[in-house]
């Protein structure tokens, strides 16, 4: 076992600030939606909008960081065989005491399922939620952009559906991140300190 610098400082900052923003937006979003009522509609909108702009800013930096460092390659999907191996492990192998089919190192820090999940998060759920969110925010100005055919219903359905998917992602991610390490919470610690113990 050796300690490896797995997550760069920016990456950790990105992860936790993104986590805080997304959780805040889930709470305020479902408050706006009327599913919960922790605060007023107006307060929820104000916080939600502020978080949205912050998250968009953060995304710009994240894209820049991923492109310039080449870290975007971490999200290239693996071969179907490797993905299937991960699925088989989670479905059966893990209960039979079999070892993890993926070996983690600095240049391959995501297992094939993670690659797929994070790629989906960043190019499907994320954009669906923030594009529909921007349409929501600027709905009154859509006419000036020639988009007046777009109804608020479509915007609302997309935004709400994507929000549910985000919540589903969060639950699965929390489960896996908290419990899949050899020691409970080791991945969380790694995401805070940046260092992770890996097999040599």
């Amino acid at each position: 076992m050796a300690k490896v610098m797995m997550y760069a400082r920016f990456e950790r900052f990105w992860h936790w600030s993104q986590a805080a923003l997304i959780i805040t937006m889930l709470v305020t979003g479902f408050n706006i939606h009327g599913s919960i009522s922790l605060m007023s509609f107006e307060q929820a909108i104000d916080i939600h909008t502020l978080c949205a702009w912050t998250l968009i800013g953060l995304w710009v930096f994240a894209w820049f960081w991923h492109i310039t460092t080449g870290e975007w390659r971490q999200y290239i999907p693996s071969t179907p065989e490797r993905i299937l191996a991960m699925v088989r492990y989670y479905a059966f192998g893990i209960f039979q005491g079999k070892s993890h089919p993926f070996h983690k190192d600095r240049s391959h820090k995501h297992n094939p399922l993670q690659r797929l999940a994070y790629l989906g998060l960043h190019i499907l759920i994320g954009p669906a939620i923030w594009i529909s969110g921007l349409f929501y925010l600027f709905f009154g100005d859509l006419k000036a952009l020639g988009l007046d055919g777009l109804s608020l219903e479509v915007v609302a359905i997309t935004h709400t559906a994507a929000a549910f998917l985000m919540l589903v992602f969060l639950i699965a991610h929390l489960y896996l991140a908290l419990t899949m390490s050899d020691k409970f919470g080791a991945y969380v610690k790694a995401m805070i300190t940046g260092y992770e113990e890996v097999d040599e």
């Binding site: 009327g34 909108i45 005491g97 709400t160 929000a163 639950i171 489960y175």
Partner: protein, 531 residues
């Protein structure tokens, strides 16, 4: 670019005017006159009657009467250019005292003329124009309630059998101190329409003579102190801003000198379509394409401490008390809730308006229209929809009641209420006679089959604009059962949701949570077994 310059103008205007002392507003509103009417030769006489005063006025103001003759203030008739309907007090039917026909002397105490006591009134007569009712500055000129537009020229008792004597107004003094109309002169009729204080509008009542800032931020007597014509701009005795053709949306931008249309009878004509400051929530300015200003800025009407009439049931009129005397019942605040002459009333203060899509198109149910007596009959109905770019969500006072109708012909009845003749309802309390006479005056024959039908009447709420700290907030509408719960045709965040999306969504969430929980439990179980 144009929009930007309009915004600049708006900001400049608001910034400039907000620094003006209130007194200056009042001064510009009143307009210093260059004439002292008490020095006019024509007015150095003892006037015996209103028309005598008018004759003196017309010696200098040569066009005043002929100009007035063209206005609906005079004609009580109005051709609606949008709907083609012939409206005006002469023609419409309402659910207050129903109609003017045969009740002239009582109704025309609010006509800007003298002597409209029956159908023969000469609408071309110049001397019968009442200049003083609008131009009195002494607040002492008052038309006698049953004088067909005349004040009383001799001391007279009013109300009847009250023992109170009304002194005649000093016409000479009043004529010598005429000036521009004020809240008091306009209010003399418009605050008391429907036969009493605050009866009709609900946003115009006696509290508007000297309103507080809370009641009306613009007319605030201690603040901006607007007069009616500050917004209802005038010219040649024509006054802008009519309820018959409401401007539901105004896209002209801020009205500035040089523009052809100087009508300021809309919020937007001073405040523009983007009235909220940069510092305010940017979403507010995005609401103006769908929400009328007054929807948020007049949170309730009848806010001046006066109640407004909300219900008038004619069907219960005519009752007597145990002693056989005509029945009169007042509520604890002194408002009549039963009057043997008129039936049951309901009054309310601080009323939350009813909200509807509105494009300015109002259609009245006229005497010539067949009604559906199985439902509530609309006295008027307002048009508008989400899809229409000229519609806005507007606040309304909805006046409801029950009133007589002809069951055979299915038309609203015109009752002859006022008069000393046996046909008058307030004389003999016989609906058959009253409706026969009323309908006959409008050229209809009563079938003899009388019924009472429930009606509703939509009144757009435009006055009693609240200070900004008292306007509606987001949550008033953006909530499950908010103020716009009944306004349809669009998706509103916080109010609406697609139940199927929520169902699938929560199933996925719960499913995922259950799935990972089971997965975790199974791992613990198999690990123990294995380990």
């Amino acid at each position: 670019m144009r929009r930007f310059s309009i915004v600049c103008w708006g900001v400049a205007l608001v910034t400039l005017t907000s620094w003006l002392p209130a007194g200056l507003w009042a001064a510009t509103g009143d307009g210093k006159s260059t004439a002292d009417h008490s020095k006019f030769e024509q007015l150095q006489q003892t006037f015996q009657s209103g028309p005598e005063v008018t004759a003196a006025c017309l010696e200098c103001h040569t066009e005043a009467a002929s100009q007035l003759h063209k206005t609906s203030h005079w004609t009580w008739a109005f051709e609606n250019p949008v709907t083609g309907q012939t409206l005006g007090k002469k023609n419409v039917i309402n659910n207050f005292c129903v109609a003017t026909a045969t009740n002239w002397p009582r109704c025309t105490s609010c006509h800007i003329g003298y002597g409209w006591k029956d159908e023969t009134f000469d609408l071309t007569s110049e001397k019968n124009v009442d200049c003083l009712v609008c131009h009195d500055t002494t607040t002492t000129y008052k038309k006698f309630p049953v004088g067909a537009g005349h004040p009383n020229y001799e001391p007279k008792e009013w109300p009847p059998k009250s023992g109170k004597i009304r002194q005649p107004p000093d016409l000479t003094k009043i004529a010598q101190s005429v000036g521009k109309p004020s809240r008091d002169t306009c209010g003399a009729c418009h605050f008391y329409g429907g036969g009493g204080n605050g009866v009709k509008h609900g946003h115009l009542d006696s509290s508007m003579h000297k309103p507080t800032r809370e009641t009306d931020v613009h007319m605030d007597a201690a603040g901006l102190n607007f007069t009616c014509q500050t917004c209802h701009t005038t010219g040649g005795n024509e006054i802008s801003g009519s309820r018959y053709v409401t401007k539901a949306s105004d896209n002209r931008g801020v009205v500035i000198p040089g523009q052809a249309d100087q009508n300021r009878a809309s919020c937007e004509s001073c405040h523009s379509n983007t009235p909220h400051a940069e510092a305010a929530n940017p979403k507010l300015n995005q609401h103006t394409d769908k929400i009328a200003c007054v929807t948020c800025h007049v949170p309730e009407f009848a806010r001046g401490g006066r109640k407004t009439k909300m219900w008038w049931d004619w069907s219960s009129a005519g009752k007597k008390d145990e002693q056989g005397k005509p029945l009169l019942i007042n509520d604890e605040d002194g408002y009549p809730i039963y009057d043997f002459k008129k039936g049951d009333f309901k009054w309310e203060a601080n009323v939350v308006p009813t909200y509807r899509w509105f494009d300015g198109d109002v259609r009245y149910t006229l005497l010539s229209d067949t009604i559906d007596d199985t439902a509530v009959v609309p006295i008027n109905s307002v048009k508008g929809s989400y899809a229409d770019p000229n519609s806005r969500i507007w606040p309304f006072k909805v006046m409801r009641g029950r009133q007589p109708y002809d069951k055979q012909q299915k038309i609203l009845a015109v009752p002859h209420l006022f008069g000393k003749d046996e046909d008058a309802y307030w004389k003999s309390f016989d609906w058959g006679k009253a409706v026969t006479a009323g309908l006959a005056a409008r050229g209809y024959e009563f079938s003899g089959d009388l019924g009472f039908v429930e009606t509703e009447y939509y009144w757009p709420v435009t006055h009693m604009v609240a200070p900004k700290e008292n306007t509606l907030g987001c949550d008033d509408c953006h909530s499950r059962n908010g103020r716009l719960a009944g306004v349809e045709g669009f998706y509103m965040p916080g109010r609406d949701r697609f139940e199927w999306i929520d169902m699938i969504g929560w199933l996925l969430v719960v499913g995922t949570f259950g799935g990972v929980s089971l997965h975790g439990l199974a791992r613990i179980f198999t690990a123990r077994k294995g380990g």
